[in-house]
């Protein structure tokens, strides 16, 4: 193959005017070729599935029965009429707000705590970060054992039931998520904190700023992009919450902890076996996430400019 190509190459270059144009085009083509493998993966593993989900969402598509033709917009109206839809939306929003506020507040506190070099810093950083090394499903199983009345070592806390009432189930799950993710967000914020130059703090001190003033007018503004990144990650993650509730509560007690993604799963595999309806809900979640992310990015950009 190779010799043939080398033989072919010179004549092309010899023909002057068209060759010049071709030469300019070739790097372009090469550029496309470099990007092609990635583009292909994006196409196969992202675009095609999304199109497939889009098609499912407008079709009468049962788990066992397969595609039985287009029925738009029946799936969407069915989703919105589902008796668990609005409770699930409400619960997901509540959970997202609670988790984001607690998680970011705590992560910021931890980051400030371990920022200064002291003899305990290494130990503290490690112990905060270790839970992040555990998969979310494994962490949920661990907490399932902690919360189960049959195996809990936490009886001394005097709590009757960790998962028995709607609010207990919510807070028990939030505790798991905070434990699992605080270290990760601490790490992100720590990177931001260490990016702030010491000179700025020195200047603030010389100007007579107190601890609170330094934090409020120096640290927070300079940390804005890190905090924004954490918020986007945390909000997106919380809106897509599934594993922890699937393992800890199965949506109970009395359907009080069903999140949107759980509802997607239930529609597809638990009883209704309706992939069309599940796909319609997935599309709605996708749209909601896009809107939220666009708003967050816009807010971030405004602040930077």
């Amino acid at each position: 193959m190779a010799p043939a190509t080398t033989l072919e190459a010179p004549p092309e270059g010899a023909v002057a005017p068209p060759g010049a144009i071709r030469k300019r085009r070739k790097p372009q083509l090469a550029g496309w070729a470099y990007a092609a493998p990635t583009a292909l993966f994006v196409l196969i593993f992202f675009i095609v599935p999304i199109l497939l989900v889009g098609q499912m969402s407008i079709s009468d598509w049962g788990l066992f029965a397969g595609n039985r033709g287009i029925n738009a917009p029946e799936n969407f109206t069915k989703v919105i009429d589902d008796r668990l839809f609005w409770p699930a939306v409400w619960f997901t929003l509540k959970y997202t707000v609670v988790t984001t506020v607690i998680l970011l507040g705590l992560a910021l506190g931890l980051a400030m705590l371990v920022q200064e070099a002291s003899r305990w810093t290494g130990f503290l950083r490690t112990s905060f970060l270790v839970p992040s090394a555990l998969g979310l499903a494994s962490a949920s199983l661990l907490f399932y054992a902690l919360y189960s009345p049959q195996s809990t070592p936490l009886k001394f806390l005097g709590i009757d039931s960790f998962l028995g009432t709607p609010s207990a189930a919510l807070w028990s799950t939030v505790a798991l998520i905070v434990w699992r993710f605080a270290g990760f967000y601490m790490l992100l914020l720590l990177v931001g904190l260490q990016g702030i130059s010491g000179d700025v703090y020195e200047a603030a001190r010389l100007d007579g700023a107190g601890r609170w003033q330094t934090f409020r007018y120096v640290t927070l503004p300079l940390l804005r992009s890190s905090i924004a990144l954490c918020t986007i990650l945390c909000v997106t993650g919380s809106m897509l919450a599934f594993d922890q509730f699937y393992i800890l509560t199965k949506g109970g007690p009395d359907n009080s902890t069903i999140t949107i993604v759980q509802l997607v799963y239930n529609m597809a595999f638990f009883g209704q076996n309706n992939l069309g309806k599940a796909a319609a809900l997935s599309i709605l979640v996708l749209v909601a996430l896009l809107v939220v992310n666009v708003l967050q990015f816009r807010g971030l950009r405004d602040k930077e400019s």
Partner: protein, 437 residues
């Protein structure tokens, strides 16, 4: 040089693209409809020619499935390859395989889901073959009926799982109850549970139930209604009758037990993951329990066994649960698969494998065998399986109405035991609403 590299890349890219296209096309599944070339001669034994068969089942039946497959593989040229799937993932896995035409040759299904799956066409018709079995009318009729759709039979019983009343004989003795006599009515059940509770032993309770588990409620409470001579649904499985007098008596029994503190507190949150555990630890007096777990429970507790009672004394009832098994629509080895199923219902499998492992046999003519003779409790279980009040409920939307987490049935019985008992009419309508979809 540069062009050479570029061309090389282009070629590579083109190849990758072509491969990708082929892969996508393959994944989209060219639905080659090979309607299992109905072989000319359908025989009672099927074919044993050394083929490899695949079989899927869910994890709770692992013990029985392994014993059956091992025994079959030892005595036949065909070899069955068993795949065990976690209980909660089973429907999703079967659904995905059904969509892409990759179902195994044989697969088992929770018998209450079978009507839905036969309707979706996941199994091949076995009507003719089943007729050829000399003992066809002796096979458990609850399972056969659940596997019949439009007059065609698709499913045979794989493993029977029955619900019966278990009690802890040691605790009965302590509480001054007759350790050889279980509850014969719902009122006796309540009285026994309260008597155990009165012992005031630490961490020991009168009774237990899966308080947040739809499947457990179906399995243990439906028989109480049947034993009282009532039904839980209409014959088509489209309307709920769970607001009848017998059902109400069941709810009030559990509500009164709850109010008296005789139900273990853990029951309220139990999603079915651990509802059998406390009894095995000897901490529960009396409760409806899966008969398949008799060998396990008997290791740690001196267990008494009785049919599940109704409002008034009678022959009692049980839930004819467990898994049915059929040949999948995608199997290309239906004669070989039938060989396994024919063997499965034979005496060799039913008595020498299932009964020998203390499982219930799926044939009425084999209820008395050399293994059950050794343990009168097994005879009790086999007898109640044949009782006319023992049933397998039939409904197309069974999973959605009853078993799914957060189903309207879970809402109904939780309200009856823990919440607003006045919501029965509305809750029952909600169950009917899902059944009738």
């Amino acid at each position: 040089m540069r062009t050479r590299i570029a061309r090389g890349y282009r070629r590579a890219v083109a190849t990758i693209a072509a491969l990708g296209l082929v892969a996508t096309m393959a994944a989209c599944g060219s639905s080659d409809d090979d309607t299992n070339s109905a072989s000319a001669a359908v025989t009672a034994e099927g074919t044993d020619d050394g083929s490899e068969l695949t079989l899927w089942t869910r994890a709770p039946l692992e013990l029985q499935a392994k014993a059956l497959v091992d025994a079959y593989n030892k005595s036949h040229k065909n070899q069955v390859k068993l795949t065990i799937v976690p209980n909660d993932d089973y429907v999703a896995k079967v659904g995905a395989a059904a969509g892409s035409g990759d179902l195994p040759d044989l697969f088992a299904a929770d018998i209450v889901y079978v009507p839905n799956w036969t309707k979706a066409g996941l199994f091949s018709d076995m009507t003719e073959r089943i007729k050829l079995l000399p003992y066809a009318d002796k096979i458990n009729q609850g399972h056969i009926k659940a596997g019949t759709f439009d007059g065609k039979e698709y499913v045979l019983p794989f493993v029977l799982d029955l619900s019966v009343m278990f009690w802890n004989k040691a605790l009965y003795k302590e509480a001054g109850l007759d350790p050889e006599k279980g509850p014969a009515t719902l009122d006796e059940y309540k009285a026994h549970a309260l008597a155990i509770q009165k012992l005031n032993k630490k961490d020991t309770y009168g009774t237990y139930f899966g308080g947040n588990c739809g499947g457990c409620g179906v399995f243990t409470w439906f028989p109480m209604v049947w034993a009282s001579g009532e039904e839980v649904m209409d014959a088509e499985g489209t309307k709920s009758l769970l607001d009848g007098p017998a059902a109400q008596k069941v709810y009030s029994t559990f509500r009164e037990l709850q109010d008296a503190g005789a139900i273990a507190p853990a029951a309220k949150d139990d999603t079915g993951a651990t509802w059998v555990a406390a009894f095995q630890e000897g901490k529960i007096g009396v409760m409806p329990y899966p008969a398949t777990l008799l060998p396990t429970a008997a290791k740690t507790v001196d267990v008494g066994v009785a049919p599940i009672p109704g409002v008034s004394a009678g022959s009692g009832s049980t839930f004819l649960g467990g898994d049915g098994i059929g040949i999948s629509k995608d199997s290309k080895l239906s004669d070989q698969s039938w060989n396994f199923l024919a063997w499965l219902t034979s005496e060799a499998a039913q008595v020498d494998v299932l009964a020998a492992n203390n499982s219930t046999v799926a044939r009425t003519d084999l209820a008395d065998n050399q293994y059950s003779a050794k343990d009168p409790r097994v005879v009790t279980v086999n007898q109640v399986a044949a009782s006319p009040q023992s049933k397998t409920p039939f409904a197309i939307n069974f999973q959605q109405a009853f078993n799914a987490p957060g189903s309207p049935w879970v809402t109904l019985f939780r309200n009856q035991v823990y919440g607003d008992a006045g919501a029965l009419a509305a809750d029952n309508t909600a169950v009917s609403g899902v059944l009738g979809q």
